[in-house]
Symmetry: C2
Subunit: 343 residues, 2 copies
DNA sequence: GAAATCTTTGAAAACCTTTTCGGGAATAGT
DNA sequence: ACTATTCCCGAAAAGGTTTTCAAAGATTTC
């Protein structure tokens, strides 16, 4: 342990190029007080030794490590966090920055531990990555570097949060159903404890009101599961056999709904059109029929968060809530006359 | 940019405690050449200033950063990588180490870039995280620190790889079906390009041979999708209507198979018992009926990989392939006489 | 031809923490 | 009382890079 590897240091490069470390440093850092010939010699030497500047030593001087801490809350429920993470990592990669990832597993103590661990590693900034678009207590007080919240919203309006636009997504779905001429639209969704569920339901009602249509039955809140989708569908059809569309709070629910409808002898989309939410490929694309659904654009959300983190690192701090719009993905579960080639 | 934050340094702590930095260091590092009273004073001062030792500066001296690089290949197909990652992170967390995560997206150039970036950050070791248990070219030549391969296997026998035991898992499933008295067992699985698919099929045949049973029909290779599961089931029943069990290569396939069987008027598990693979909760537990399946124990696999990485960091380098056993999760799709209260 | 200016280079300082080494003080033993 | 021992503290070094500043060299101007 502690056995240190043979590291190629700037001194080695300088020696090989026959210059001083100072000159070598300047040559490699694109400063212009160095003669072209010398620079070339240094660069060549660096390549020959496959020299990698030691980021750590540099950070002691320049103060930045080109590393951001990414704190997730519940990576095991990874469906949402991963795309955001990927989008973020993408955007970071272009800037030659790296990600230090920690997963707090929804535990406040563990989170504090990780925040300290990341700060000890001199990260330049933090991205707090939520997993359900929910409001949560601000952590910015404990963190002396810029923080951006992604797929969750800080309760401190001075923070910057980038969240998915649930209301907007639901409006897309609702307007799609209305534009198809459906009149008897119902809503089956997940846990009412989730803001996403409430926001989407509210937006649906809003659109229906504007179109002069009723919401058939109450919005049915339950769990985010196929099981609940099946159960709710049976219940709904028992009381309202005349529905012609169901907007579901998630693809998982929609998958259960579709199954139950088939069992009950209704065809999708002819008798009942279905719209899901999340565009979870494995369920949405493999469903019978494939589901029209709302994609949350999570990768873009992650990229947006990173962009704003960079701005903050440059001293340009924004605050408030940015709502990242989703987009409607039309598949057969609403496309009556063959797949609509809309994009 | 480059604006360095006000960092509490050991000097500040020492000053506040009225001792030298050396004494402060010793006091905080639990070395015993410091008077209890002095130590207490230092610790108190450190807490008052909420001092965080600068891990980076320390690493310049001691040579280790307590950070490992985790290089994934395709995080977007996250289903498999995430549990491994979580298990690894868990094991690392206990050792106060951190994870630097990079996702190469299956691109060799990007991978090289990340390896260099991580090396520049002085990571102590690497975990190469695969996503399909496959053999792949060794990267250890380009990496001057210990490397462990997880959920993939290096083609260099000098490397250490920790993979899921596909043959063992398939044996568990096959023996389960045999022990239930099923005699007409078929196999529907995914892409034959995957070693996992071939290994599982081979192990199944092995178990059946040992029990004196035939494999009904050929092993049906296709895609890892519900769609293929449905299609293959229809084909299978057309030629072999008398099957009484199907071992599926994944839960996704099993889900499609189950659906198709129901459509075709067969009951599960009475007429046909089903075993899936992966224990992908969303599909396996929500299926009708819930699926008996093989859990790959991926979290444990990640933890094992980390344990061996630590060993290697301590100079105790192993090599070869470690096969992490899976475990059978029994649910209703094979439990004929009511749910078995096994745990 | 000499002076002034500009370019290029290298020595040394700075960054922050840990560790080593030597000295000083207190305690115990003779 | 004096020496031997133990215990603790402070000064300084080490680690690799960047930056600063002074000096050397080259070029231009008068």
């Amino acid at each position: 342990m502690g056995r240190k590897r043979a590291q190629v240091t700037l001194t080695d490069v300088a020696k090989r190029a026959g210059v001083s470390v100072a000159t070598a440093s300047k040559a490699l850092n694109e400063r212009d007080e160095v003669a072209p010939a010398t620079r070339h010699r240094v660069i060549q030497a660096a390549e020959e030794l496959s020299f990698q500047p030691n980021v750590l030593a540099r950070s002691l001087i320049s103060g930045n490590t080109r590393t951001v801490g990414l704190l997730t809350d519940e990576l095991s429920a990874a469906r949402f966090a991963i795309p955001v993470l990927l989008g973020a990592e993408n955007a970071l990669g272009n800037e030659q920055m790296s990600v230090l990832l920690c997963d707090a597993r929804g535990d406040a103590i563990r989170r504090r531990h990780y925040i300290r661990a990341l700060l000890a590693r001199q990260v330049d900034g933090f991205i707090i990555l939520g997993d359900n678009n929910e409001i949560r207590p601000s952590l910015s007080r404990e963190i002396p570097v810029p923080v951006v919240y992604a797929y969750c919203e800080s309760d401190d309006p001075a923070d910057l949060s980038v969240v998915a636009d649930d209301a907007g997504g639901a409006r897309l779905a609702a307007e799609h159903l209305v534009s198809l001429g459906r009149k008897r639209i119902a809503h089956i969704t997940g846990d009412p404890g989730y803001r996403a569920a409430r926001d989407r339901a509210a937006a649906l009602v809003e659109v229906l009101d504007a179109a002069g249509l009723p919401l058939i039955g109450e919005a049915l809140f339950g769990q985010w599961s196929q099981r609940w989708g099946r159960h709710a569908t049976a219940r709904l059809l028992a009381t309202h056999p005349d529905i012609d569309a169901i907007f579901c709070g998630s693809d998982q629910i929609a998958s259960g709904v579709t199954e139950a409808l088939r069992d009950l002898g209704r065809t999708v989309p002819e008798d009942v059109a279905i719209v899901g939410y999340d565009n979870w490929e494995v369920l949405a694309a493999e469903c019978r029929p494939p589901l029209t659904t709302v994609d949350l654009n999570l990768e873009q959300l992650g990229a947006t968060a990173v962009r704003h983190l960079f701005a903050a690192l440059d001293g340009d701090h924004h605050s408030g809530v940015i709502r990242q719009p989703g987009r409607l993905v039309v598949r057969e579960s609403t496309a009556v006359a063959g797949p609509i080639p809309r994009r």
